[in-house]
Symmetry: C2
């Protein structure tokens, strides 16, 4: 793919500015710095830290090298929901197979989806704790899991090394889309990141920028779970499997804003029927 190396800045490179890299409860400041460096080498700029376990100290700055500006601008959040606010697509990195099957992509497929959706709005790549990765509940916030094909005997990539691989594929994808040969090369490019799961990318009626964002989905899930309790169906706090299955279902559907409003209307209506205050409304 010589075009990818010879084209300096096709317009689609600008999409990389809409890709957030979200680190959840990272233990070591050195790793936060190293992730910043990996990001900047590939033209990514939005670093978000959820409950970082160390300060952005001298070690972080040393490892960031010339990417200290990304650290200085890093957003620090208390909750994953805050970190993902406004994102239309979320892909989580996962080192191992999960009990509950989730749509899975390789790094090229991850990049394909993130760069495609970044044309419309904000997207996020989620990287978990150094030792334990993402919890199942955190993964349930994701539309896809991304897995780097690794040595089954030793699959433990350093978090910054994983970030480098994902960032490399993101840049590669952004360069490919903008390259003049992208028309002719489209079949190969599609093959690069193809999986069985289709992507609802909008554009088939409603404008794609109206897809519900991650925070809107989080609000919906909270509403849904309250409603499940209210209507006496089940308490999702008692059944995490149920909670995750529901999330997987709705994440796969990728509702747009209007659809989400309809769903929430249904929830309100459903709860309202059991609501002791319903006659006051």
């Amino acid at each position: 793919m010589p075009a990818a190396t010879s084209v300096d800045s096709p317009p689609s490179l600008g999409r990389l500015a809409r890709v957030r890299v979200v680190l959840v409860e990272t233990s070591l400041s050195a790793n936060m710095g190293a992730v910043a460096r990996a990001m900047k080498t590939m033209g990514l700029s939005q670093l978000v830290l959820v409950r970082p376990q160390q300060q952005l100290d001298a070690e972080a700055l040393a490892r960031a090298a010339g990417a200290d500006d990304l650290l200085a601008r890093a957003r620090i959040c208390d909750t994953l929901t805050d970190a993902l606010a406004g994102c239309r697509l979320v892909i989580g990195s996962s080192a191992r197979a999960r009990a509950l099957a989730w749509p899975e992509v390789d790094p090229a497929g991850c990049a394909e989806r993130l760069v495609e959706e970044a044309a419309e709005g904000e997207v996020a790549l989620l990287l978990g704790r150094e030792r334990s990765g993402l919890t199942n509940d955190e993964l349930a916030s994701c539309h896809y899991l991304a897995r780097i094909p690794a040595n089954p005997d030793y699959s433990s990539l350093n978090i910054a090394a994983a970030a480098q691989v994902f960032a490399y594929e993101l840049r590669r994808r952004a360069l490919t889309i903008g390259a003049p040969a992208s028309g002719a090369g489209a079949p190969e490019q599609a093959a690069l990141g193809s999986t069985q799961a289709g992507v609802h990318s909008g554009g088939d009626g409603s404008p794609p920028e109206e897809l519900a964002t991650a925070d809107e989905m989080a609000g919906f899930y909270a509403h849904l779970e309250q409603t499940l309790v209210a209507i006496g169906f089940a308490d999702p706090d008692q059944s995490r499997t149920l909670r995750r299955r529901l999330r997987r279902l709705f994440n796969r559907a990728r509702p747009d804003r209007t659809e989400l409003n309809i769903l929430r209307g249904i929830l309100s209506a459903a709860a309202g029927r059991k609501d002791p205050n319903r006659f006051r409304r």
Copy 2:
């Protein structure tokens, strides 16, 4: 490319055992450890250190994490020639464009060539110093330069991050070759790493394992340069550009062993005509 993630160990994965990662004058032991980890996650096992600037200390072991076995088995060499002995193909990593044009590949093209040639024998990926990379003379030992497409405003990948990208592409390539769909997918795979430069991969007459190895080429170049002095043509020590141009020329040709013997016979003969001792032989 779902096959790449779902196939555990096609036979071509074994080729990764023939890919040496050669680090030249690495400054920091932490980086040596981190490179070992990056290698092992992708199934590479041969680490070679040329004049490492620090001991393989506790910091190296900490960064290697579960890849300390690669560090323990790492070969330490005084010269690049020793490190490359027996290699039929050498690709050097290069962060910047060079004055003297050399055949260039991207990481996917690099992996394509190394994995293809590793079917026949040993190959090497050369990574230079953290700050200054490889010297032009070291690059002249390479058949290709490999460049990771990076942010032109900040292209400084950490050496272990670069190793992770190359190792990732090597594993990806090895998985693709062994995957059952490799026949059907071949055009896409070829497109992945295509460049303008052709590869002489043997198999067109002489058996491919007879290609001259890196140490044989080094011996030839030494012989050539002595001969140039002996015949009064030029002193390559006085003209580094000349030396590199010659290396580029012969590296591109990729002589097999028989051809190299012929060339050396010619050199001997040429020097012999100016050799004051020629009548004693």
